[in-house]
Amino acid sequence: MTEAPVVAAPEPERAPRRRRGGSRVLAIVLVATIAVGAYLWLTTVRWQRTATEWETKAHGYADEVASLRLQLDGANAELKAARDQLSTATSRITDLANEKAQLGDENVASQQYLDYQTQVSAAAATVASALGQCVSGQEQLVGYLKEADQYEPADLARYEREVNALCADAEDANEALQRELRQ
């Protein structure tokens, strides 16, 4: 048996396959690069647009903040003025309430004094009347004594006791009134 000689694969056939493989890889890399580039371009455009919108919005809010700050300053100034006015008003109300209370006290005190004076006047009138009755009684007694022979001695003595009692009561009332007036 004669062995057939081993024939190696022809070398020249490997080179074209490798080139083809390399080309495919390069094509894939190229496509991937283009895709990445397109994505980056799209991303950049979108971010630019978003940044512009945010900036516009930020300017809008900044303007609004400035306006609100101005309004807040004005409102705070008005609030401070209103609080000052409220404080003044409450102080005035407290003062007026106190003035009213003091006037009420004075009114009550005056009324009590007036009642007292009325009582004193009534007492003085009563004392004056009693003293007047005492004087009248004594005058009457003097008249009776001038004509004593025309009256019973017992009657004269009784009348004298009555007049003395009346005068004693009148003097007591007068002294009480004087003491009250001295207080």
Partner: protein
């Protein structure tokens, strides 16, 4: 032939890794800008300074519940203080309403309050005055008697004058030097004057801790303690109708 397949696998792996890795590195597309970014409810918005002092008419609650009492006696006139504990009930001292022909009550803003029945306690210098007109405001009672060192605020009409708020602190308890109250009374350094009798003594939360009834020789004030007030109010027989002059 085997080497070539391995190379392609390596290359494919590299491309796949690069693609996936690149996707991770590449910036994402931006989210659309929202139309409104203002929150519907503000967070952590603190009230304006001084907002806690707001009231219906600019007066503090402690001022609104204080009343001035004018005791028109048969021969003399005296004034005292008091405070509301509900819409139609006032607390004051027994000696403020004693020997009275007429009681006249007015509020912080000068309004006159029509008075109904008056009753006084037998074992403490306390009195309850019912009103037919509603009272503007009334404080809460504290949970317990104050301790030594606790702050105290007294609201009343010293010397029958303006409504006045004075402050001090609780110095402790003592025996009643006037023997007007059963048990011990509170001693504070809050300034009071004749006319302050019946004033409410309040803690730092505006709750009643006692009733002013006297002043000591060294210018301290004596209070009927809250516990005595509560005991008296809880006892139906503690108060009897006041006798006029």
């Amino acid at each position: 032939m085997r080497w070539s397949a391995r190379s392609r696998a390596v290359l494919a792996g590299l491309v796949l890794t690069g693609t996936l890795g690149g996707c991770g590195v590449l910036p994402p597309l931006p989210d659309p800008v929202p139309g409104d970014i203002v929150p519907s409810t503000p967070v952590d918005l603190s009230p304006a300074a001084g907002g806690d002092a707001l009231s219906p008419d600019g007066f503090d609650a402690v001022e609104r519940m204080a009343v001035r009492i004018r005791n028109v006696g048969c021969e003399e006139l005296s004034t005292g203080s008091g405070f509301a504990i509900d819409e139609h009930t006032l607390i004051t001292n027994k000696h403020v309403v004693a020997d009275s022909k007429d009681l006249e009550v007015s509020t912080y803003d000068g309004h006159d309050i029509t008075v109904g029945a008056t009753s006084t306690a037998g074992l403490a210098d306390l009195a309850v005055v019912r009103t037919t007109d509603p009272l503007p405001s009334h404080p809460e009672l504290a949970q317990a008697d104050p301790e030594r060192g606790d702050p105290v605020t007294v609201v009343g009409y010293p010397a029958g004058g303006e409504l006045t708020v004075t402050e001090g602190e609780v110095m402790g308890t003592t025996r009643d030097p006037l023997n007007a109250n059963l048990g011990e009374v509170l001693l504070t350094d809050a300034p009071v004057e004749p006319g302050s009798s019946g004033s409410a003594a309040l803690d730092d939360q505006g709750r009643v801790i006692g009733v002013v009834y006297a002043k000591t020789a060294d210018d301290n004030s004596l209070l009927v303690p809250l516990s005595t007030l509560q005991d008296m109010l809880a006892d139906d027989t503690a108060f009897t109708p006041a006798k006029g002059c």
